[in-house]
């Protein structure tokens, strides 16, 4: 109760700051055309950053998923429809960020980890609140930040200093939590889902020892956020939209892709953490067991070869048409000296894999060498 009262007063104080002086929050989409003095430069920088992201291929192309996320955002902030643009960001790091011009970037790694539309809405509601409340501009007008970014020579460093790329001050983050939460409830989502997204993140951040300065990896803040959402939800009736089925139907293919990318960037610990956790694993396609097997091989600790075999066998049983599993099994038996089984699995791989599979030539070579 004390915490809630404290948060209430803090929220009043923070929102008081927002309306005093020159910086006032946007009211609706029309209001965003009335940019305040000095704010234009920030928007210009943000547009430049948008362009760089798009040009350099950092957007994850999935029209269905992008439209779905945009739909959730428009449900949360209907009066800002057409002004807040959600993009999928091609990174497996657990993050999402907002730019001062209303661009919201949602990493596919974070998308893969959360389990329902209501949890997604909790994150989107928070990020959009940074834009609506002009947190970037407010952070910039403070003299302290102005001098901090003035000396930096890193491209877009000044923008990073005043956007949620690197996180806002604790007070502004709290305000975004409160505003985002209010939007979540108003849009009819189940408030008891909100903390779940952050709980999973906190668990992963702790297990992997993530130290990157990303908003979602700031552990004490994350714990505080979970407690706050739990306390707020306790005051609300249960019920409301969860949207787990819809969410998982859209995100399922991205989850497998996120595992593949994690492994490709040697984040095998992350793959093992996800696929060994029964709670998380249930969201992932069965073919994910193939990546678990490959992750064990990368880790290469005692008994990992056996664990890899078991994971490949599970993948074979649950997703019998997923070609890479048979390559994994073939490699295992080739190394174990079992030529017959190795040949058998490699042949099955060639039958199931697409004609242009990048490693087809290697597998053909292996089969020849095993005769």
């Amino acid at each position: 109760m004390k915490r809630l009262l404290g948060l209430f007063f803090l929220s009043l104080l923070v929102s008081g700051c927002a309306t005093t002086g020159d910086v006032t929050a946007f009211k609706d989409a029309n209001d965003t055309s009335k940019i305040q003095e000095g704010e234009g430069r920030l928007w210009h920088e943000a547009s430049g950053y948008d362009t760089t992201i798009e040009r350099s291929g950092q957007i994850y192309e999935d029209r269905r998923a992008t439209a779905y996320l945009q739909g959730v955002m428009d449900r949360l902030y209907p009066e800002f429809k057409g002004k807040i643009h959600v993009h999928l960001y091609d990174s497996t790091q657990l993050n999402a960020f907002a730019l001062p011009n209303g661009s919201i970037y949602f990493n596919i790694g974070l998308l893969a980890r959360i389990g329902s539309e209501a949890q997604l809405a909790a994150v989107l509601g928070h990020e959009a609140a940074h834009f609506v409340e002009k947190h970037s501009f407010r952070q910039r007008v403070s003299a302290k930040n102005a001098s901090a970014f003035a000396v930096s020579g890193i491209p877009f460093a000044s923008l990073a200093a005043v956007s949620s790329i690197s996180g806002f001050s604790r007070d502004l983050e709290r305000e975004a939590d409160m505003k985002g939460y209010a939007r979540l409830v108003k849009a009819g989502y189940d408030p008891h889902e909100a903390h779940k997204a952050f709980e999973q993140l906190a668990k992963e951040v702790k297990a992997l020892g993530i130290q990157e300065p990303y908003f979602f990896s700031s552990h004490p803040q994350l714990v505080e956020r979970i407690d706050t959402f739990k306390e707020l939800a306790a005051r609300q009736k249960s019920g409301g939209r969860v949207g787990a089925e819809e969410y998982n139907a859209v995100v399922q293919p991205i989850r497998l892709e996120a595992l593949r990318k994690d492994l490709g960037q040697d984040r095998y610990k992350s793959v093992i953490l996800v696929m060994e956790d029964a709670n998380l694993r249930r969201y992932y396609p069965a073919a994910g067991y193939y990546y678990l097997g490959e992750a064990y091989i990368r880790r290469d600790e005692k008994n990992d070869s056996q664990k890899a075999l078991q994971a490949f066998q599970t993948a074979e049983k649950l997703a019998p048409n997923y070609a890479p599993t048979y390559k994994g099994l073939g490699m295992h038996y080739m190394k174990a000296g079992n030529k017959v089984r190795a040949r058998e699995y490699f042949s099955k791989y060639l039958t199931l894999a697409s004609k242009d599979a990048g490693d087809r030539a290697y597998v053909q070579q292996y089969i020849s060498s095993l005769k």
Binding site: S56, G57, G264, D266, G358, D359, Y362
Partner: protein, 220 residues
């Protein structure tokens, strides 16, 4: 305090003076064989090349800079920032420094290629490196891989990298060609392929690894 302030620039000036900076030479018909301790190859005529090999590189491992031994020569026709062929030998214990993985002679080329792609993706600007093809190849009679990869720089320019590599008991060898897809890549690919075919290991590859120069360690 004052003594330290003066001593540091003096030391850096001395060290800088002693450092053997690689220098460039233009190849002509009499000057095309590039010899290094571990390997030699024929550089296409009209290209510039380094005359001595770099012997160390600085790599960030877990965000901490480390100085690692290697052997690396470079050739370019229009300037290294535009396009370049880089031939590198890494020692078995530090073949994949950011992955903290070693090589051994029994590794399959496909395994080595997968590790190499992961290693490159850990380097700045290459996080979204895409593999276009990955196939077996032979380099100097050894089983290896040929990877073709691509990424976009911040200006949206597509840069392609083709890499031929192999592992033996002396380490991990790669011959890379990097160029913009626009105009340059196709223009010079044939020169690269010729250089790969001319690659030969030297007896020096079997010598014990040299020491990292003391001054190079100052940077870590």
């Amino acid at each position: 305090m004052m003594t330290k302030t003066f001593a540091l620039p003096l030391l850096l000036a001395l060290v800088g003076g002693c450092a053997q900076a690689p220098y460039w030479t233009l190849t002509d018909n009499d000057n095309r064989v590039l010899k290094s301790t571990s390997f030699e190859m024929t550089v296409p005529a009209g290209w510039t090349r380094t005359t001595t090999a770099d012997t160390w590189e600085q790599v960030k491992v877990d965000d901490k800079p480390q100085t690692l031994l290697l052997e690396q020569v470079t050739a370019s026709r229009d300037g290294v920032s535009l396009h370049a062929i880089t031939v590198t030998r890494r020692y078995p214990d530090t073949a994949f420094p950011t992955l903290k993985k070693k090589t051994n002679a029994s590794m399959q080329p496909l395994e080595v290629a997968d590790l190499y792609v992961s290693e490159l993706r850990k380097r700045y600007g290459l996080e979204r490196l895409r593999v276009l093809s990955n196939k077996p190849s032979q380099i100097n009679g050894k089983q290896g891989f040929e990877l073709t990869m691509e990424f976009k720089n911040d200006d949206g320019l597509r840069i392609r990298i083709v890499s031929n590599g192999f592992v033996d008991k002396t380490g991990f060898y790669t011959i890379n060609y990097r160029a913009p897809v626009l105009y340059y890549y196709d223009r010079d690919y044939a020169d690269y392929a010729k250089l790969v075919r001319s690659f030969r290991q030297s007896k020096g590859a079997f010598d014990p690894p040299p020491e990292i120069p003391g001054w190079a360690k100052l940077f870590t």
